[in-house]
């Protein structure tokens, strides 16, 4: 080692960055892409309780799409996902704009909006479940105040339960979206806004015409973050409803978990995982591609 020629040292310097990156990249290749391939293999096997490597073609996929539960899960994801993304963004933007009006107590309010993101649903699920439970929670309290006919029983109604899941999800993530927008707002050149004010534009117009279009990158980041969180939402449902009442709050993630681990249909579970991955790829790959290409300019 001590007698390395300058040429070799040079080469080492050239290769060093790649050597530094290599372990992380190798980990990702094995633990993410290797496992995806492995899941793909399982989805075409006859695996039930533990992995079995016997070819079964697309049988598991056929069975998957013949399951009413799977369709329910997809439908719920559509309802939950769109509500979650839209409301989180609307609320996050609204709060960010309000907070951007030189609020003196901003330092107090910001962590209040942000803290739900810091808590796991394993923790807050207990409180939420209790709060939404018609017999003990909010409904009971309001009735106790004298409004006897007040009803808030969404948690136990199969047609409404998915909306309670969305409420809890929005509570958790909207503060984080607010922070992303606030960061974006703070990055906007204030001279430009002053000029617009001088021109006599109303506050509303300034936001609609100038500020919000400038926030486009923050919108995009928010959509991506929320979309992948919606698809991966799992402990939210488990903590609140366990997928019930009936199968009213089944999501693809809970579907996959139960088919793989409790229903001994590992191949079907793996097939649903592959479909989920394809869904995520359909959102992420175009985004990543355009983001990374743009930078070149």
């Amino acid at each position: 080692m001590a007698t390395t020629s300058p040429g070799a040292l040079r080469r080492l310097q050239d290769w060093l960055p790649r050597l530094v990156l290599a372990p992380s990249f190798a980990l990702v290749l094995v633990f993410v892409y290797g496992f995806i391939v492995w899941t793909a293999v399982l989805s075409m096997s006859t695996s039930r309780i533990l992995p079995v490597y016997k070819w079964a073609g697309f049988d598991a996929y056929e069975r998957l799409f013949a399951q009413p539960n799977w369709w329910m899960a997809l439908k719920n994801l559509a309802i939950f996902g769109s509500l979650y993304i839209i409301v989180c963004i609307a609320l996050g933007l609204f709060l960010a704009i309000l907070l951007d009006q030189r609020i003196r107590i901003e330092g107090v309010l910001r962590p209040i909006y942000l803290y739900p993101m810091a808590l796991s649903f394993v923790v807050t699920g207990t409180a939420w479940k209790w709060f939404l439970n018609p017999g003990m929670g909010f409904q009971n309290t309001v009735r106790g105040w004298g409004w006897e006919s007040f009803t808030f029983d969404w948690l136990v109604r199969p047609d409404m339960a998915i909306y309670t899941v969305a409420i809890a999800g929005i509570w958790q993530a909207s503060g984080f979206v607010m922070a992303m927008f606030l960061a974006g707002l703070r990055g906007i050149d204030s001279e430009m806004l002053k000029a617009a004010t001088v021109d006599g534009a109303s506050t509303f117009t300034i936001y609609r015409r100038i500020v919000i279009p400038l926030l486009r990158p923050a919108f995009l980041s928010a959509v991506i973050v929320l979309a992948h969180m919606a698809i991966k939402s799992y402990d939210l449902v488990i903590a609140l409803t366990g997928g019930g009442p009936g199968n009213a709050t089944e999501l693809p993630s809970t579907f996959m978990y139960s088919y793989t681990f409790t229903r001994s249909q590992m191949a079907v579970g793996s097939a649903s995982a592959m479909i989920m991955l394809m869904g995520i790829a359909a959102i992420m790959v175009p985004y990543l591609y355009s983001e990374l290409r743009e930078e070149k300019r």
Partner: protein, 415 residues
């Protein structure tokens, strides 16, 4: 030869208790409710007295859902726990994967074959080898009634579905929740299988559930069952969804509710609340099912650990589980009856005595069948498929007609 030697060492180890204080068993279970944990402590203390340390691996939630995930991870990693609480068809599934240890020598030594009912042996053995030690026999077709509410309703226990509805109506008039229920798929399934047994009798249960006969699953008797389920649903309170079973039991204990349909593990909760059978609460077979039993048997499955020291601890645990005095101590706390039939019933309360007598009678008459809801009727894929339909129907997501079309389809698709 090696095996015999091994078992020999294990038994001599048993004799010289105290020699190996280092021994320990790691036990995966989901018995975290009060009565269950108390029963498990009996085993823990018993093993401690034999110098085997207990390393607890509780994984709570959803009747073992997460526990089975944790187990899969451990087995896949090649590092299974010493012993795992398991039920029915799951035991067969794991045995089929060839990962379980063999308990034949210990079983032969202690004569398990003579004292365990055939129906239970069917799940403790695979390929004619003992792979699990049965702790108890639970039966699921019980009804637990608050005595005060029953007395106010005339004091007569119902004998059939109509009698049940009449009693629930009377409870309704008293202003309490007539039927305490927890809206989780397995609890819905437990209620459903009792109604199936009540309406159709044991032959119908066998045909529809155990043989998964499509005609029976979509036929007129089943229509009656689903209609009954709809009617029973009207006796629940408003926030039953997702409630744990022991909280439903607590409603009966506190008199907020009149009755609960649940397996005999519910008795553990009554006893812990210092209630006395016959005085504070009444246990009867689910109306219309007297004489038949839907059972499930908790067993400790021993995994093949390939390590002699661990195996010796494992055999000690299996021996302790099968010990008659332990079976009495454990089951009086847990609410179940011993898996061994040669155990005297003197220490059991009235419900326990009734349970033991019913079990013996049903085993004799051939009216003892595995409970679907608790993994002794069908493999878990079929069980969950039935749960899907039953729970969606009970929650009003699908009509009775749809349920009758869906049920045979779902069962066929899961097989």
């Amino acid at each position: 030869m090696r095996k015999i030697l091994l078992a020999g060492t294990a038994i001599s180890l048993l004799a010289s208790a105290g020699a190996f204080a280092e021994e320990s068993v790691e036990v995966l279970h989901w018995w975290t409710a009060g009565g269950e944990a108390a029963a498990l402590n009996v085993l823990k203390d018993d093993l401690a007295s034999k110098d085997v340390a207990w390393r607890d691996m509780p994984v709570a939630g959803g009747s073992g859902v997460q526990a089975m995930t944790a187990l899969r991870a451990r087995v896949t990693a090649g590092d299974p726990p010493t012993a795992v609480q398991m039920l029915g068809f799951d035991i067969r599934d794991w045995a089929e994967m060839g990962v379980l240890g063999n308990l034949d020598d210990l079983a032969a030594e202690q004569g398990w074959a003579e004292v365990i009912p055939e129906a239970i042996q069917a799940f403790s053995k695979y390929d004619d080898q003992w792979i699990a030690a049965p702790v108890n026999v639970h039966s699921t077709n019980w009804l637990w009634i608050n005595k005060a509410a029953l007395d106010a309703a005339g004091g007569e226990t119902p004998e059939d579905m109509d009698g049940l509805f009449a009693m629930l109506d009377a409870f309704q008039e008293q202003g309490i929740t007539p039927l305490a229920h927890g809206g989780q798929p397995w609890q819905d399934g437990t209620l459903w299988e009792s109604v199936v047994l009540s309406r159709g009798g044991m032959d119908f249960y066998r045909q529809a559930v155990l043989e998964a006969d499509a005609e029976a699953l979509g036929g007129d008797t089943m229509r009656q069952v689903f209609d009954d389920m709809t009617k029973l649903r009207s006796y629940f309170d408003g926030s039953f969804s997702g409630r744990d079973w022991n909280l439903a039991s607590a409603m009966v204990i506190e008199g907020q509710a009149g009755a609960q349909q649940m397996g005999d593990w519910a008795k553990g909760e009554f006893l812990r609340a210092e209630q006395v059978p016959g005085e504070d609460f009444v246990c009867i077979r689910f109306p219309g099912t007297q004489g038949s039993i839907l059972f499930n048997s908790d067993q400790f499955v021993m995994f093949d650990l390939g390590d002699e020291e661990k195996r010796s601890a494992q055999l000690k645990m299996a021996a302790a589980v099968m010990d008659p005095s332990f079976q009495i101590a454990f089951n009086t706390v847990k609410g179940s009856v011993p898996a061994r039939t040669d155990v005297p019933d003197a220490d059991f309360d009235d419900c326990g005595k009734k349970g033991m007598a019913d079990l013996a009678e049903a085993a004799e008459a051939g009216t003892l069948a595995g409970s679907l809801a608790h993994g002794h009727g069908q493999p878990s894929s079929v069980k969950e498929a039935v749960f899907d339909v039953v729970t969606q129907h009970l929650n009003g997501q699908i009509s009775t007609d749809e349920a009758l079309t869906r049920l045979p389809q779902a069962v066929a698709a899961a097989q």
